[in-house]
């Protein structure tokens, strides 16, 4: 590549080190670009910075319960109910990173190298043309500018690197991938799979396809079945930027990683008609510094990226970079969940398990697959898990003394729970904007969020709940109880959209290669780029889109197009 003409100049800049930023870093570096990778939070070194990874329950404060003071510091993060002393360093302190909830929105995040790739749920599902064609078929939002065939080789590419344990099922709505050996279903889950096969021609239970290594893979160790993933894996046995993509970028010697670097805007050259770099506020010194490159990847997370674009104001783009369409910041989506069912199961009293499997079973979407089978559009999938009740069941009982002790030492009855993940349609009025009147502690505008689940989501929700109960009852469960708890946007932590891909610059922010319309050397490949949400966990698709766009960017650079 070229000699550096001035300081702070690189071939490429990647903003963000989470699940898609790590992929952008790896792919751009491996393809020979001198790449600056900017992260707004602190560095997190693989293994050595997983400070709680080996702590036993009794070594954690208060049995791993947050103190009242800690809950106050993380008053929004704890809405997720996943924050504990053993992982709280992966979640922001909310008073330091405020945003405005015009309507309830849970923004659950961590600012550090690796981002949410350290804390993600690790489920990896391909999308199919059922998903990519849906908007066009139903006249919702805009059409995806790509189809499954465009992404399939990149799903292959990503899966081969990250390692996805899963079972091929031959389902059109959930294409099989390049899988490592699956983790097994337990006794009861296997029973449910068989009963479902007998009772429902359209529904199947399979083991979750998840980024866990069931065998050693590319220098990373196999899963030890501790189920302590959220603390960071000392064996590198689940995929994270820290364990996999960033080390691959380091090996190339092409990466410069700069933590504590808050990107405030993309610098746009009106005359050249492209971006020239980014502006950074150093989170520690508060000093502003500019960095320059020929190509820029925005992977700051859905809302982080929409913030940067909205805050990148130029003569050419007075309303935010790439916002000719007026769609920037709009069409925010998140899966709806927190509804499903539980049930008890009478059998298998003499069966138990050993090891702690870190993933659940999965029931792929079965609504509106081959034909329209419901009054609403799209569908939902379930994550499900069976286990024997543990010692916590004794809390609600009345036994005392030796009898109580005996109860603690015995596994309880089998029980299974199913939680639905439902598709959310893009809606223009689900949006974020900048509030410049109320600056945050950095003096930057705050994001102001107004989004809610709407008619189609509400119409789907009852079916998400009742079908779970139907499946459990058909499989012989007793005391089947449904649940339906509030699930505001953001609570599934699958927020996506706000800079959608599309075929027409008048109605979309990005083109089919994730280039910003009007700024072709700026690529957005995190959740912001999504045109619809499907009902599958989205991270695998972000990774595939990123790898695809990075290859495209390098070939365009080589052709002198950028």
């Amino acid at each position: 590549m070229d000699q550096k003409p001035k300081p702070n100049t690189f071939d490429a800049i990647v903003v963000g080190t989470g699940i898609s930023g790590g992929w952008a870093a790896k792919e751009l570096c491996e393809r020979g670009l001198d790449t600056l990778v900017l992260e707004r939070g602190r560095d997190v070194r693989h293994v050595v910075d997983y400070t709680t990874a080996h702590q036993a329950p009794w070594e954690l404060p208060h049995g791993d319960r947050l103190t009242a003071a800690e809950r106050k510091r993380k008053h929004i993060q704890i809405r997720s109910e996943i924050v504990e002393p053993s992982n709280q360093h992966w979640f922001v302190n909310d008073d330091e990173h405020p945003y405005i909830e015009e309507k309830p929105f849970d923004w659950i995040r961590g600012y550090h190298v690796g981002g949410r790739s350290l804390t993600w749920g690790r489920h990896c599902y391909r999308w199919s043309d059922l998903d990519f064609e849906a908007n066009a078929r139903e006249g919702v939002g805009v059409d995806w500018p790509i189809r499954y065939r465009d992404l399939a080789p990149w799903y292959d590419h990503v899966e081969a690197f990250i390692g996805v344990a899963g079972q091929a099922e031959g389902l059109s709505q959930l294409p099989d991938g390049k899988f490592l050996p699956p983790m097994p279903l337990n006794c009861l889950e296997a029973h449910v799979r068989e009963r479902m096969r007998e009772r429902f021609s359209d529904r199947r239970m399979t083991i979750g396809r998840a980024a866990h290594l069931t065998q050693a893979h590319l220098g990373r160790g196999q899963c030890m079945y501790r189920n302590l993933c959220m603390r960071g894996c000392p064996f590198g046995a689940y995929f994270s930027s820290n364990a996999a993509t960033l080390p691959a970028a380091v090996v190339t010697k092409k990466m410069t990683l700069r933590p504590h670097s808050v990107v405030t805007e993309v610098l746009y050259d009106d005359r050249a008609g492209k971006a020239v770099g980014v502006r950074v506020v150093d989170a520690e010194t508060k000093k502003t510094e500019d960095f320059f490159a020929r190509v820029i990847f925005l992977n700051a997370s859905t809302l982080g990226t929409s913030f940067i674009l909205l805050n990148s104001v130029s003569r050419r783009f007075p309303n935010g970079l790439g916002n000719d369409s007026g769609e920037l910041g709009h069409n925010l989506m998140d899966h709806q969940f927190m509804t499903g069912a539980f049930g008890n199961f009478g059998g298998f009293a003499d069966r138990y398990y050993s090891g702690r499997r870190p993933t659940s079973a999965y029931i792929p979407r079965f609504r509106n697959v081959k034909s329209k089978t419901s009054r609403y559009l799209r569908g939902f999938g379930y994550q499900a898990g069976a286990s024997r009740e543990d010692w916590t069941r004794a809390i609600a009982e009345v036994s005392v003394g030796a009898a109580l002790k005996q109860a603690l030492a015995e596994p309880g009855p089998w029980r299974m729970g199913m939680t639905a993940f439902g598709e959310c349609l893009p809606h223009h009025d689900n949006r974020v904007k900048l509030d410049r009147e109320r600056p945050d502690p950095f003096g930057l505008p705050q994001l102001s969020i107004a989004a809610e689940h709407r008619e189609n989501e509400r119409a789907m929700r009852g079916d998400m709940r009742d079908s779970a109960a139907e499946i459990l009852e058909a499989a012989g469960f007793t005391n089947v109880e449904t649940f339906d708890l509030p699930s505001p946007l953001g609570s599934c932590i699958h927020e996506m959209g706000t800079a959608r891909m599309g075929r027409d610059p008048k109605t979309s922010v990005l083109n089919a290669n994730n280039q910003v319309h009007g700024a072709p050397n700026v690529f957005v490949t995190d959740g912001a780029c999504m045109t619809s949400s499907a009902c599958q966990n989205p991270s695998l698709t972000y990774m595939a889109l990123t790898a695809r766009a990075a290859a495209f960017a390098v070939s365009e650079l080589d052709k002198g197009h950028l």
Binding site: D64, R65, T67, A68, D350, S354, A386, K405, R415, G417
Partner: protein, 252 residues
């Protein structure tokens, strides 16, 4: 990106105490606004003036008093001292110790006392619980002490072992019968207040069970000597005979 893990566990956890993370399956401790007021008012009805003399409360931020180790459970009469900030009074600590050991006694394996469950509970009560729940917990302890004064004319910790054991048994027996341990006056003008007291006592008992069981099962002795704990299983077998596994796992 990460809700999956908690969303699909088969058995919802029953051990979350904080109001910020309500769960359908958490034993309800949420009699919203005036739990403390209700306790103060209605406890008076049941146990009379004795309460006033014993209510030491829970001091999260009081000026430091004489630091001293909690009394042994045999509870030699010691001069009453104000609680250190963030700690039970000696009397409260001794009472918690006795209650937890009653719930989970030493048998052929260690019980709550050896597992230092009272220390765990002290930490949770003062650092984890909200102010309202902390006060309710301490008031629950003090109500037992008041009951001792009513029945025996002396504080719980200065009663003999036999009397203490009877008081503790009566407190937990109420759980099974659904009746209060302090006795009630159904039908009297104060019936509503008595019912409120019973409800507070029930809620306190539930909290005590939750903290004792959780503290014990997460302690080294509880997790390894009564349940079993495997820090690094190395493999997963989803269907094997219970006999070959033995005791229940401490973590899931």
């Amino acid at each position: 990106m990460s809700r999956e893990q908690t969303a699909t566990g088969a058995a919802p956890s029953k051990e979350t105490p904080s109001k910020e993370t309500p769960s359908k399956d958490t034993p309800s401790m949420t009699s919203s606004m005036s739990r403390r007021d209700a306790l103060g008012a209605s406890a008076g009805l049941v146990v009379g003036a004795a309460l006033e003399a014993t209510l030491a409360g829970c001091r999260a931020d009081a000026p430091s008093a004489n630091a001293s180790e909690p009394a042994a459970t045999a509870a030699a009469p010691t001069p009453r001292a104000p609680a250190e900030p963030g700690k039970f009074t000696l009397e409260q600590r001794a009472l918690v110790d006795e209650l937890t050991e009653y719930l989970i006694p030493e048998t052929s394996s260690p019980g709550a006392r050896r597992a230092e469950v009272a220390a765990y509970i002290e930490g949770v009560v003062f650092a984890v619980l909200d102010e309202e729940d902390r006060q309710a917990f301490c008031a629950g302890l003090d109500a037992i002490d008041a009951s001792a004064r009513q029945k025996h004319g002396r504080a719980f910790w200065s009663c003999g072992a036999e009397a203490r054991s009877k008081l503790v048994r009566a407190f937990f027996a109420a759980d099974a019968k659904g009746a209060p341990s302090g006795g009630g006056h159904a039908g009297s003008p104060g019936a509503a207040a008595v019912a409120a007291t019973n409800e507070l006592e029930r809620a306190f008992r539930e909290r005590l069970r939750e903290l004792t069981i959780t503290g014990f099962c997460k302690s080294r002795l509880g997790a390894t000597r009564v349940l079993q704990y495997d820090p690094i299983p190395g493999a997963y077998d989803g269907c094997r005979s219970l006999e070959s596994v033995g005791r229940a796992w401490a973590t899931s």
